[in-house]
């Protein structure tokens, strides 16, 4: 019995621990996939850019974490947010990963006056840009409407 068990554990380590991930890697190599960079949020602090959500790890992608503050913990808001109390909730509360690449459309629209003023642009143009970058729910039902902050800021740099 022991001998069989040893052989079995070695066999499954080989099959599930080595052949499976290596095999999937080989198969996956032929698939088109999005670039990792656009998926992971990054920090923006200048007034002329849209700011992302508060992050418990300051957008350090090498170690992800949420704040883990409970629902009534006073530190939950004051420690992480640079937005005032009237800002949309997603801008005031930190994300789960600390690397959330998105903000809600309301969160983006809320920041339009600041960004437009810093760039000396018509707020209406910036608002139009935000609206063009809103991604709806997938298939109309899955997930939440969102704006990718990096994509929005890259487009902002293209505005003349």
């Amino acid at each position: 019995m022991l001998l069989i068990a040893i052989r079995q554990i070695l066999l499954w380590t080989l099959v599930c621990g080595l052949l499976y991930p290596v095999g999937v890697t080989l198969l996956a190599g032929s698939l088109p996939a999005p670039q990792a960079r656009q998926l992971v949020g990054e920090e923006f602090a200048r007034d002329g850019y849209f700011w992302p959500r508060p992050s418990a790890v300051n957008y350090n992608a090498a170690s992800s974490s949420g704040s883990n503050w409970g629902p009534h913990e006073p530190k939950r808001e004051s420690e992480t947010s640079r937005f005032p109390a009237d800002a949309p909730a997603d801008l005031r509360y930190s994300s789960g990963s600390g690397l959330d690449p998105d903000i809600t459309p309301q969160g983006a629209l809320y920041q339009v006056p600041r960004v437009a003023a810093a760039r000396r642009l018509e707020p209406a143009r910036v608002e139009q840009l935000v609206r063009s970058k809103v991604q709806g729910k997938t298939f109309g039902v899955l997930g939440h409407e969102r704006v990718n902050v990096l994509e929005l800021n890259l487009a902002l740099d293209q505005l003349k």
Partner: protein
Amino acid sequence: MAEFVIYLLVLVGLAYPLGQWMFRMLERERHFGLENLIYKLTGVQPDRQMGWREYLQALLVFNLLGLLVVYALQRVQGMLPGNPLKLAGVDPYLAFNTASSFASNTNWQAYGGETTMSWATQMLALTTQNFVSAATGIAAMIALCRGLLRTESRQLGNFWVDLTRATLTVLLPLSVLLSLILVSQGVPQTFHQPAAVQTIESQSQLLPLGPVASQVAIKQLGTNGGGFYNVNSAHPLENPTPLSNFLECLAILLLPAALCHTYGRAVHDRRQGWALLAAMLLLFVPLTLLCMHYEAGNWEGKEVRFGEAASALWACATTAASNGSVNCMHDSLTALGGFVTMVLMLFGEVVFGGVGCGVYGIVLCVLVAVFVAGLMVGRTPEYLGKKIETFEIKMVSLGILCMPTLVLLMTAGAMLVPSARAAMLNTGPHGFSEILYACTSMGNNNGSAFGGLSANQPYYNLVGGLVMLISRFWILIPVLAIAGSLGAKKRVPESAGTLPTHSPLFVVWLCVVIVVVGALCFFPALCLGPMAEHLRYL
């Protein structure tokens, strides 16, 4: 809300065909080529039947060896290849905790994924256990089915055959399929070095990559839950889009739901499978709606691309099944949102539960329900034509009472040990909830956490490691003993006094039994944590 409805429709729609297919794979008469090769290589005689003691022995020896391998690989990872970040060996307490955690299908992670475990450890140790621990659950379940079905027989099948078939024909193909879909959504699957990128405001950002998709697929399907990254499926590389989120969330409940139908088919009464699934849904749906209600508008610890509703759905799915992966931070759930997740675990992981163990767990509850109903009308209880007698009820009690004892003692212990109590991040009742949640999670082989608790310290690592092992393997003794005892019995013909166990009435009765047993054990503890927190801020 719409997402929840679609989720349920897809889940129930896929569970039936998948359950039937799994039955055909597990109970095939003949062995195919690759299977035979495996039996030959490992010295298995596939047609040799085992009694319940031998079956249990094989299962325990195999899992103990798995535990040793995971422990050893973590300790020596610094000397092995496949370690691009040059991570050192893991300390003994943490290594023991992680080994127990993965061998017991818990996947409690006292470590930060990307900062502690090398690729070699993640693949050879952790991914392997993700497969074989799930396969172990399926094997034990199918052995129980044989005991229920067979008459005057002491044979429960062959553990090695069940393990091989569950891994090779169920878990591997589904995992490959899900991995590839996840890769198309942007989940990394590569052996390249971590990528350094320059951000627009000229800082540099290091993106840890690796064989992520393959690990994520099986941790979702096998109710394991141990992620590649620290924040699990909240990480944008582990779960990049609403579609990847939907599929990963679906994968949590897919096999536990499908195995209800496998069960029904295996005991030759498909209505029994539907009844188990109906009872699970009857508990799951209202609790999930409650959680969604309380989480609406709570953005702390949640990701925008999923939204509050899909985050609450995941939180309920992962705690109902003993999965434990997360896509939002449970510590930041509202008091009653967190209450729901704890309750779903404290039912004993029978609302879907782990792959295989959910079904054998709820069958123990069915036996209690049949027994109590039998007491009420003064008849010897029967289930599927087998008399439920003293021995079975003793075994059921051993199985059911083990978990509450472990959870409550471990919680009490944590409150008494100063260093364990000081591990709280939050204050007040929420701090207690962090500890209660940790003990609940380990005691039910779930693996999710109120992450604020600094759990990487000797008390939680050592006691938690033991609790995970006892909780997982102790219950298998009564389950297989019942299988052996029922298999040896004759079938009594159905009479007018037989309680039908597939009727809506019985389904509701089963849910009542599950809720009452859970409430009797845990109401006081829950009052001190989430309920006190909710009432305090009304």
